[in-house]
């Protein structure tokens, strides 16, 4: 096996998995800030203003890490995937460039006023800036999902001398899988943030701190999850239908179906074995597969064996990751619905065991999000542009094994320590919590994301 190819795949998986955590969190947080600030403008409840300031600090730190790790991403395609860039850059490049133009520049422009302009501009102008930042994060999601969906379900292109050329931008941007994958990702980002908000609020309630503010947040998170988590399962099911239509080999892998046909069972758990082309220790529910995947008792689903071995994705990662994602999705619904029931009985915000369940679920969104992306990306293999350009043919031909090994080690070391510092800093911020902000603060002039949140930290100069 080509070492540079294997190491490049590992590296891309690592840097993109690290990076996506931060945008996913900030997509949700930006909209959460819009919601909080609108609520405050309407009610002028001081608690809400304190919460806006608190969550803005969390947003600032996460956004900063998203920016630095995002710069790395914008060079990865060229350094490690030069043939992908040269062959598909005509189509993917413009989509990414639109992300810079309509998202990055917009975010950079309005972020300064949002973070530091509270006392310099009117409340409505400030609110407008918060809305623009939120719109920027959603615009970024739009273009990234469009580019990635095009790689999953390419459309609107022609191939000349092995190079993709755009033929119809409408078809490229709104390619077949985009319509369902965009809402799936946006809802995933929102749920990720909702569980962070709910978990942090439960942490305060368990420690009897900021009780009123924490209750406000937990209520909002609970209602949101109770509605959106089931919605996400429906969208996820639609996404599955789309995969069945366009990427049957991916569907077979993520469900661990080797022999297709009608009356397919649903495998709850198994150890897929690529050597024997079968599942070991399989726990099957008869007709389950047909029912879930085709919405009929005996519907037909293709099996992995009907694809040549060279065209099959690896099975284990999509299979397990999919199960993790589904299990967490079900747990999310459960936590929220149990919460609604306990709320009616008046114990949702006092029951220690229930609050602890939110604490446990705090990282659930992140894990489900990563699992979902691993299903999508590993399941697309062996293709980088599905059915058209193999990953093995996309790697840079002129990079050495040693270079890629070096870069992989460096990125792992740098990101692990970065993650440690950011986590430590966020923890410090949580310990301070959503303290009361004086209604009129002195004019501050800095306009950088991470520099917010220094006050009340005690040990700064």
């Amino acid at each position: 096996m080509n070492e540079a190819l294997f190491l490049s795949r590992l590296q891309f998986g690592w840097v993109i998995s690290f990076h996506i955590l931060f945008p996913a969190f900030t997509i949700g947080l930006a909209s959460w800030l819009v919601f909080l600030e609108a609520w405050w403008l309407k009610t002028r409840n001081d608690h809400l203003r304190d919460l806006v300031f608190f969550w803005m600090k969390v947003f600032a730190v996460s956004f900063g890490v998203g920016v630095v790790s995002g710069i790395v991403m914008s060079f990865q395609f060229g350094t490690n995937w030069a043939r992908f860039s040269a062959d598909a850059g005509n189509v993917v490049g413009p989509l990414l460039n639109y992300e810079v133009l309509t998202a990055f520049f917009v975010e950079a422009s309005f972020l300064g006023v949002m973070l530091f302009g509270w006392d310099r501009v009117g409340h409505k102008t400030h609110f407008a800036c918060t809305c623009m930042v939120a719109l920027g994060t959603l615009a970024s999601t739009f273009w990234i999902m469009s580019a990635n969906s095009w790689m999953q379900t390419p459309a609107g292109y022609v191939i000349k001398d092995g190079v993709f050329e755009p033929a119809d931008w409408w078809q490229i941007v709104f390619n077949p899988s985009f319509g369902v994958r965009l809402p799936h990702m946006v809802l995933a980002a929102f749920l990720t943030t909702a569980f962070m908000i709910g978990g942090i609020s439960s942490y305060y309630l368990l420690r009897n701190r900021f009780v009123e503010k924490a209750r406000l947040c937990l209520k909002a998170a609970l209602v949101f999850v109770a509605i959106v988590a089931p919605l996400q399962i429906i969208v996820g099911d639609m996404s599955g239908q789309e995969v069945r239509a366009h990427q049957p080999a991916k569907l077979a892998a993520l469900e661990g179906i080797w022999t297709g046909g009608t009356n397919v069972p649903w495998t709850v758990f198994a150890i897929p074995d690529e050597q024997t082309e079968s599942n070991r220790y399989a726990l099957d529910i008869p007709h389950g597969g047909s029912l879930i995947l085709t919405h009929s008792w005996s519907g037909a689903v293709a099996g992995l064996k009907s694809f040549p071995p060279d065209d099959r994705p690896p099975v284990a990662i999509p299979f397990y990751a999919f199960r993790v994602m589904v299990a967490l999705g079900v747990l999310m619904v459960l936590v929220a619905w149990v919460g609604l029931w306990k709320w009616r009985r008046g114990t949702a915000f006092t029951s220690r065991s229930y609050l602890k369940s939110w604490l446990w679920m705090m990282p659930s969104g992140f894990i489900a999000l990563l699992a979902g992306w691993w299903v999508a990306e590993v399941g697309r293999q062996p293709w980088v542009v599905y059915g058209l350009l193999r990953t093995a043919d996309a790697v840079s031909p002129n990079i050495t094994d040693g270079s890629v090994l070096a870069s992989l080690i460096v990125y792992v070391a740098v990101y692990v320590s970065l993650f440690g510092f950011v986590g430590w800093y966020l923890l410090k911020m949580l310990r301070v919590g959503p303290v009361a902000v004086p209604p009129r603060r002195r004019v501050r002039t800095a306009a950088r994301p991470l520099s917010l949140g220094d006050e009340e930290m005690g040990d700064r100069p």
């Binding site: 540079a4 900063g64 890490v65 920016v67 630095v68 995002g70 710069i71 914008s74 060079f75 060229g78 350094t79 490690n80 030069a82 043939r83 860039s85 040269a86 850059g89 005509n90 993917v92 490049g93 990414l96 460039n97 992300e99 810079v100 133009l101 309509t102 990055f104 520049f105 950079a108 422009s109 972020l111 300064g112 530091f116 310099r120 050329e165 755009p166 931008w169 840079s396 031909p397 002129n398 990079i399 040693g402 270079s403 070096a406 870069s407 460096v410 740098v414 800093y425 002195r442 501050r444 002039t445 800095a446 306009a447 950088r448 994301p449 991470l450 520099s451 220094d454 700064r460 100069p461």
Partner: protein, 337 residues
């Protein structure tokens, strides 16, 4: 002229503009980082960093714009350049991360402040050196075999010339940083910056001469345009302006002016950049990949051009506005943090 002929030209200048914006805007911030070791104490280092605190974040967006623009408009060049410069790009990105996060963590840390201060200076110096090295390697040229890639080598970019341009850019950014500090500070920090400006200016002029003298001896054919008649005549305003600019900068520094040195240093960079862009033309990857060969089709370049025409003027207007908000001297105890 057809669209297929003109669009690559338009995009050559768009990307050139984005890179120049990045070099000018982040150049002086990196320069501050390069100069922080010359501060007497931690308070002065804070003072230096505070002058750039409100504005440095947006600057990096121009770098991303340059990268994404290159991928959209000249995908072949994007692929060849970045994969050929694998290690320098890696080191530059890691140095940028180090610079960016230590800008922030330094003010949050209590015990580890020294470490973050070091990471800030080292990150800035390494970023500047790598950007210069990448520039030098690009100017030297990347020969393509069979119209596509050079064979796998890890260190093809390493040469005396690329090291020279790397060092030159460190000094160039340091000059931008010093003149920026003259403009934005007073007291002891301004004095330090004034004292550094003169030797830095001499060094930058020396490096400019050295690089220019080296260019005709490179294999890359680059700059051939500069030394053929009558091109030399038409292009002569650029070197003439550079000489005038150097003289004006000299006078401004001697007379302890505050605004002029920074503006003239920026002009120095712009003139050098124009000289380079003219020299590389019509190649995007010297010695032989032209902008038309590397260009994406009209549908790609045209599609993004619409967004550029709408968004970039708005971005420039906001950038000017935010610099206006933060105009004036930054006091030693400015409350950015």
């Amino acid at each position: 002229m057809t669209l297929a002929e003109t669009l690559p030209v338009v995009w050559y200048f768009i990307i050139g503009f984005a890179v120049m914006m990045y070099v000018l805007l982040d150049g002086f911030v990196l320069g501050i980082g390069i100069l922080t070791p010359f501060a007497d104490d931690a308070a002065q280092r804070d003072h230096m960093m505070n002058t750039a605190a409100p504005i440095w974040d947006g600057n990096e967006t121009w770098l991303v714009m340059g990268g994404a623009g290159l991928m959209a408009a000249f995908p072949k060049a994007y692929a060849v350049v970045l994969s050929s410069l694998y290690l320098p790009v890696l080191v530059m990105l890691v140095a940028l991360i180090s610079r960016g996060v230590s800008f922030e963590f330094r003010f949050k840390a209590a015990k580890s402040r020294v470490v973050w201060g070091f990471a800030f200076a080292a990150g800035s110096i390494v970023t500047a050196f790598m950007q210069g090295l990448i520039l030098g390697a690009l100017v030297e040229g990347m020969p393509l075999t069979g119209g596509k890639y050079i064979h796998a080598t890890a260190f093809a970019w390493f040469s005396p010339f690329s090291v020279l341009t790397g060092v030159a850019v460190v000094f160039g950014y340091a000059l931008l940083g010093a003149t920026w500090l003259v403009l934005k500070t007073d007291g002891r920090v301004q004095r330090i910056a004034f004292d550094l400006t003169r030797p830095l200016m001499l060094a930058v002029i020396a490096f400019m001469l050295l690089v220019s003298a080296w260019l005709p001896f490179l294999d890359s054919n680059l700059m051939a345009r500069w030394f053929t008649w009558p091109n030399f005549l038409y292009l002569s305003p650029v070197p003439l302006l550079t000489v005038l600019n150097a003289a004006a900068l000299w006078v401004a520094v001697i007379r302890n002016r505050e605004v002029a040195p920074f503006v003239l240093s920026l002009c120095f960079f712009v003139l050098g950049f124009i000289g380079l862009v003219v020299g590389i033309w019509p190649n995007i990857v010297p010695p032989s990949l032209t902008i038309w060969q590397a260009a994406s089709p009209v549908q790609s370049q045209g599609f993004v051009l619409v967004g550029v025409v709408i968004m970039i003027p708005a971005v420039l207007a906001y950038t000017a506005y935010s610099y206006r908000i933060f105009r004036g001297k930054v006091a030693a105890d400015a409350g950015y943090y």
